[in-house]
Symmetry: C2
Subunit: 168 residues, 2 copies
């Protein structure tokens, strides 16, 4: 990191990621992710699968594993990036994250809803507890995924039809 963090960046920017997924194995999906803005990064090649119970071959982690790993990695990355900027020394950092969902059968299918999110942060630092608390609070606001989960988002779907893409 440079000594003038945000230097060279505009005061506001858009950060964009996209993913193309192809259904391959029984339940496996091969996924190619790019960061598109503010710069191009990738391709990042990932995959999801399900265990035999869900009709898959367990050839890759399930989608929720990628999600929980992404959330954990996001808050950790923010803590580390902001530690330098807020002059907090991190001798060590580990995070435990636990996410629970409700699952409800509805005839032949089912519905789901989020239930709880818990993130436990273990920072080893010679600095005062208040400085570490301030760091964690700044990291929460900088964490893309924590900020995303904290608000009700609208997801826009489109479906390919013979007449072109149709909003769903």
């Amino acid at each position: 990191m440079s000594d003038t963090p945000n230097a060279g960046l505009p005061p506001q920017a858009e950060v964009v990621f996209d993913c193309h997924g192809d259904a391959t194995g029984k339940m496996r999906n091969d996924l190619v992710v790019h960061m598109r803005e503010p710069m191009l990064e990738g391709p990042f090649e990932l995959a999801t699968d399900e265990g035999p119970f869900h009709g898959g071959d367990a050839s890759a982690p399930p989608p929720l594993a990628l999600f929980v790993a992404g959330l954990t990695g996001c808050i950790m990355t923010q803590i580390r990036a902001f530690a330098k900027r807020l002059d907090v020394t991190l001798d060590d950092l580990s995070v435990d994250c636990r996410v629970a969902w409700d699952w409800t059968a509805k005839g032949r299918i089912y519905e789901t809803a989020p239930k709880s999110f818990e993130i436990d942060v273990d920072i080893t630092s010679p600095d005062a507890e208040e400085a570490v608390v301030a760091l964690i609070n700044a990291a929460k606001k900088g964490c893309f995924l924590e900020q995303t989960l904290g608000v009700a988002n609208t997801i826009n779907h489109r479906m390919k039809t013979p007449d072109g893409w149709k909003a769903g």
Copy 2:
């Protein structure tokens, strides 16, 4: 999948994932994920890193790549699982997902907010368009991550202190 989907499962269940992350390289985090409920699956070993611009070694995808891949994989998995249950034939399936965030500099640090989510579903099926639309709509309700993103979630933090875990 069995012919009686949900068979052997209670009408309601809790689905729980957890992740332990250790800060390792400059910005790399090594992440171990388990499904804990309704059955044990894993460990799934994942990692995140950042590119040189963010002070990392680019040894793994950034956290947002895992998130976008998880979201794409989740809706694809739900479409495939529910196609069998709703008797819709899937000859092929691909999904393009695009997520944008706003990034705003705040002195030496920054804040973020979600901006847009777009999911384009391309299904090749001999079945009627209405049946495919019904499948996609069922998959939205069954998709853990889409349901999670659609509501404002509370994330509970704790921080390790010499006096034990402290709510943040």
